[in-house]
């Protein structure tokens, strides 16, 4: 009797569970509207959006769709393209633009006028687009830009150290909450006193900036800082309730939860939570496509959270999402090859993997074997022996590109130096040359074929994460041919603090990316600055340092590009960071509901170009 009861209970439970199958019918399959389902792999979604959030995975993406910057930077042309702003130029003492006849910046005149020592800043004039509005209907004006830049420099009100870094080249600053230097001028904020004539009609669209005398000063200001609405934040933000407050008031929390921005989309807070974020397109977005239709084609975007990549891929295969905004490993390619309705975006990447050597350890970390890395011949030998093609074909399954020794991606034609390769073709020849070089330094070998120095084997540890084990295993085989032994050493959870900043390593694998917009900071951080910077190996060369400093400070853009090319040659010659490969960015989308996905270098299939090009198919 009891047994029959038990069986009945069991059957009931199973039936119930299976019945849940129908209840969990995912909505995408039946959604006929213009809604894009984007899967994102992250541990959690933020539920509130402080506008300048930078840490969490998806927050920067969402923020860039809710808010806008003044311009976007086109890496390939080196020019700023208008977003909130329409145009910008340097001006002379009379306020006239320093432009050539074709409309481009006249750097010769800029250098002529402002190269002199008595000029302490560069004046920049920015003209905004007209007709832009915030999502609550208020117009976007120059006062909003003033407010944004102003609060970025005022840590008492912003409590955001990153904003301080963004505006470090703007000559506008506070000390303990008091304005000590003004560098932003609008109609309502002292433009006239400074001698900048802004007429009544222009009051909403014109502003002037004083920046440091470096060409890169405007880059972050124009393309990184998201502009905030003054009319929303000015009443709320006080020294006790800061913009990035650790204990925000109800008003601030309300704003975090319902952000007001001037971007193409708004957050639908009611339908969003920690697992789903819904964005709605703004009907009143002023920027349009060339034919006058809406610039962004998708009405609604739903981001769905997946905590694990396999889960997300499973969802994509099942049709629960349209696309996956995460780069996936090339091992998964064969899953998608035979399936219908799949779009594979195999975009060239921007991140280069390099092998960094500890060329200049602190005194306590020197030892005879590690000192070998200070000898450029040894480094060149190692660089010669690395077979990038094999790495790409075995580890990346062919989805990658080789990297020049100058560490610059070919994506930047203006600054890519094709001569900074310096590695001859032909693996055989390279290995022979490498062996010849090493024979000058450590000719003796032990019984296993590894070179020895004073009886000790030449052996290095490569500090890497668990995912880099395969790479290091291949490097082992490749470097064995020149008699050098390398071994995997685990990075641990805070490698900078435990190993890298105090020179406790031989070599490590580091991902780098050099683009026109970040060179001013990155060259310094990677090749000059010691201490807590990306210059783990404490590399320092006076000539290179001088070149980098000159590159940062010159006011002649063409000269700057020449210097960048020269710097690449020097970097290539030093073999301090030896290139390994540049992995493609592989991402997948379904084409049964949408078509028109665009592959963009360095990005997944979810990018601005795609959003501006997608079309809803009639079959659903």
């Amino acid at each position: 009797m009891k047994r029959k009861c038990a069986l009945l209970v069991l059957a009931a439970l199973l039936a119930f569970s299976a019945a849940g199958c129908q209840a969990s019918e995912y909505e995408r399959r039946t959604d006929a509207s213009n809604t894009l389902y984007a899967g994102v792999v992250a541990s959690s979604f933020p539920v509130s959006f402080m506008p300048w959030l930078s840490r969490d995975g998806i927050a920067p993406t969402i923020a860039s769709m809710l808010y806008s910057t003044l311009f976007t930077y086109n890496e390939e042309t080196g020019l700023f393209e208008g977003l909130i702003a329409k145009e910008w130029y340097y001006v002379d003492d009379a306020g006239e633009p320093l432009l050539r006849e074709d409309g481009s910046v006249d750097y010769d005149r800029v250098e002529a006028i402002y190269g002199a020592a008595d000029k302490t800043y560069l004046p920049v004039k920015v003209v905004l687009n007209e007709g832009l509005t915030w999502s609550d209907g208020m117009p976007v004006t120059a006062e909003d830009v003033y407010y944004t830049f102003d609060i970025a420099t005022n840590n008492t009100l912003s409590n955001h150290a990153g904003a301080l870094a963004w505006t470090s080249d703007l000559q506008h600053g506070y000390s303990s909450g008091t304005l000590v230097e003004q560098g932003i001028f609008t109609y309502g904020h002292g433009a006239a006193d400074m001698g900048y004539a802004i007429s009544e009609e222009e009051r909403d669209t014109v502003l002037y900036l004083h920046v440091n005398k470096v060409l890169g000063a405007v880059t972050t200001l124009f393309s990184t800082i998201l502009i905030l609405p003054e009319h929303i934040w000015e009443p709320i933000v006080t020294p006790t309730n800061q913009l990035n407050s650790k204990d925000p008031t109800a008003a601030t929390l309300a704003q975090y939860g319902h952000p007001v921005g001037c971007g193409p989309y708004v957050l639908d807070a009611d339908r969003s939570n920690a697992q789903v974020i819904v964005l709605e397109r703004r009907a009143d977005y002023a920027l349009t496509a060339e034919d006058g239709s809406a610039l962004y084609k998708v009405d609604t975007i739903k981001f769905i959270l997946y905590q694990e990549l396999n889960v997300a891929i499973y969802a994509l295969l099942k049709g629960h999402i349209d696309l996956l905004d995460s780069a996936i490993s090339t091992n998964y390619l064969s899953l998608f090859e035979e399936r219908e309705h799949m779009f594979v975006s195999n975009a060239p990447g921007l991140f280069l993997q390099t092998l960094v050597m500890n060329v200049n350890p602190v005194a306590g970390e020197k030892n005879p074997i590690r000192d070998l890395l200070g000898d450029v011949r040894v480094r060149r030998a190692i660089a010669l022996a690395i077979d990038q093609d094999e790495l790409i074909s075995r580890i990346l399954n062919g989805s990658g590109t080789t990297v020049a020794a100058g560490l610059m991606s070919t994506a930047n034609p203006l600054i890519y130096n094709p001569d900074a390769i310096l590695l001859p073709e032909g693996l055989e020849a390279r290995i022979a040359e490498a062996n010849a070089l090493l024979d000058e330094v450590a000719p003796t070998r032990d019984e296993e074929g590894y070179r020895t120095l004073d009886g000790a084997r030449v052996s290095f540890d490569i500090l890497g994460s668990v995912g880099e084990q395969e790479t290091i295993a291949f490097l082992q085989v490749q470097l064995q041919k020149i008699g050098i032994e390398v071994e995997f050493a685990s990075k641990g959870s805070s490698p900078e603090k435990t190993y890298l900043y105090n020179s406790k390593f031989d070599m490590t694998i580091q991902g780098v990316t050099f683009t026109i917009s970040n060179l001013d900071i990155m060259y310094l951080a990677h090749f000059v600055t010691l201490g807590t910077s990306s210059n783990y190996g404490r590399f320092g060369d006076p000539d290179l340092t001088a070149l980098i400093r000159e590159m940062r400070t010159t006011l002649d853009l063409e000269h700057k590009y020449e210097l960048i090319l020269a710097i690449q040659s020097m970097i290539a010659d030093e073999y301090y960071k030896v290139p390994l490969y540049c992995s493609n960015v592989l991402s997948i989308a379904r084409t049964d509901r949408y078509q028109g996905y665009v592959t963009v270098r360095g990005s997944t299939v979810f990018n601005t170009d795609t959003l501006q090009n997608l079309e809803r198919r009639d079959a659903s």
Binding site: N310, L317, L335, E470, Q476, F488, S490, G492
Partner: protein
């Protein structure tokens, strides 16, 4: 010369005294049908671990022997290759025995030593030592081990030494309890009382008289805890807390899951390490169970320990068996 002979004699007899119960136990286990199966399996695994380079067709650590990724089982690759790296799964299975057996046996032996030491000390000395040790046992039992290991590997890096140390530090508690209750019974045996009267030191009594008495129980518990440790280690390696360079079955399962074996339908990649774990645990458990059936009258209708200790107080023995039952209730199927 005489001194040399004498030291050799004492050393030799000490070793023999150590080996004798092990020899006894091996013989009795062999006679038991379940135990025989266990011994054979464990022997097979030990052979695989020791002779791995000769048994495995490929060297999974050698990058030049990698094949195409994600191959199905075939004659060249008996269990196919991994999707992520192209390693031969069968070879990985063979090499995985090394890690499992090493950790299982080392930790088991360490637990045996520590548990026996504290159990005998607590049971025989009584009083303050007993209370202190038992309180420590209670505290150690309530701290959740898995989160603790996760925290410590985060702080101090991942290594098998850390895992062995933590398992040993937390795993001896159950064994100590059981040993202690048996020692409480043995304390009143005639030969122990005789030794006390003869003036033997406490240490000597504990080592020469009590320890042999608990040896059966000790070895049985060791076999069973080895099994439990292996499952726990597989779980830890699955979470990624083991040594990242070593090949272990738990890590193979984790790689299979994160590498998409489920998505691709490569069931062999999941079954292989699972069968490995199963065999190892099963073998040790058979040995332990065989011994337990011989000792514990509640398991089978034999007289077991009663026969061994018929001269002792039966009532106290009840407590020993309750402890053993509780220990059996603590086996690794509790979640994990």
């Amino acid at each position: 010369m005489k001194a040399v002979v004498r030291t050799l004699g004492t050393a030799g007899s000490a070793i023999l005294r150590f080996l004798a119960p092990i020899g006894r136990f091996l013989r009795s286990v062999w006679r038991h049908p379940k135990g025989r199966v266990g011994l054979l399996i464990v022997a097979l695994l030990v052979v695989c671990a020791v002779f791995a380079p000769w048994i495995a067709p490929y060297d999974p650590y050698d990058v030049t022997e990698r094949a195409a990724k994600g191959l199905a089982p075939s004659l060249e690759h008996l269990l196919g290759t991994t999707i992520t790296t192209g390693q031969d799964i069968f070879s990985m299975l063979i090499y995985g025995t090394r890690v499992s057996l090493l950790i299982g046996i080392t930790t088991g032996v360490a637990i045996a030593f520590i548990g026996a030491f504290f159990g005998i000390l607590a049971g025989y000395s009584g009083g303050v030592a007993d209370t202190v040790i038992m309180r420590v046992v209670d505290i150690l039992l309530v701290i959740p081990t898995l989160p603790l290991i996760i925290v410590l590997t985060n702080l101090f890096g991942r290594s098998y030494l850390m895992i062995i140390a933590i398992f040993a530090a937390f795993g001896w508690t159950g064994l100590a309890r059981v040993i202690r209750s048996l020692v409480l019974v043995l304390k009143n045996a005639n030969y122990v009382k005789a030794a006390e009267l003869a003036g033997a030191s406490r240490a000597r009594i504990m080592f020469r008289h009590i320890l042999p008495g608990v040896s059966h129980l000790l070895i049985m518990s060791t076999a069973l805890s080895c099994a439990g440790i292996m499952v726990a280690e597989a779980g830890l390696s699955f979470l990624g807390l083991g040594d990242p360079t070593a090949i272990s079955w738990g890590k193979m399962l984790a790689e299979a899951q994160s590498g998409g074996a489920l998505l691709f339908g490569h069931w062999w990649w999941i079954f292989a390490p699972g069968i490995g774990i199963f065999l190892a645990v099963f073998g040790f458990m058979r040995i332990g169970l065989a011994l337990e059936e011989m000792l514990n009258p509640r398991m089978k209708q034999s007289n077991g320990l009663f026969k061994l200790f018929r001269h002792l107080d039966n009532a106290r023995l009840e407590e020993v068996f309750s402890q053993m039952d509780a220990e059996r209730g603590n086996r690794p199927w509790n979640g994990n």
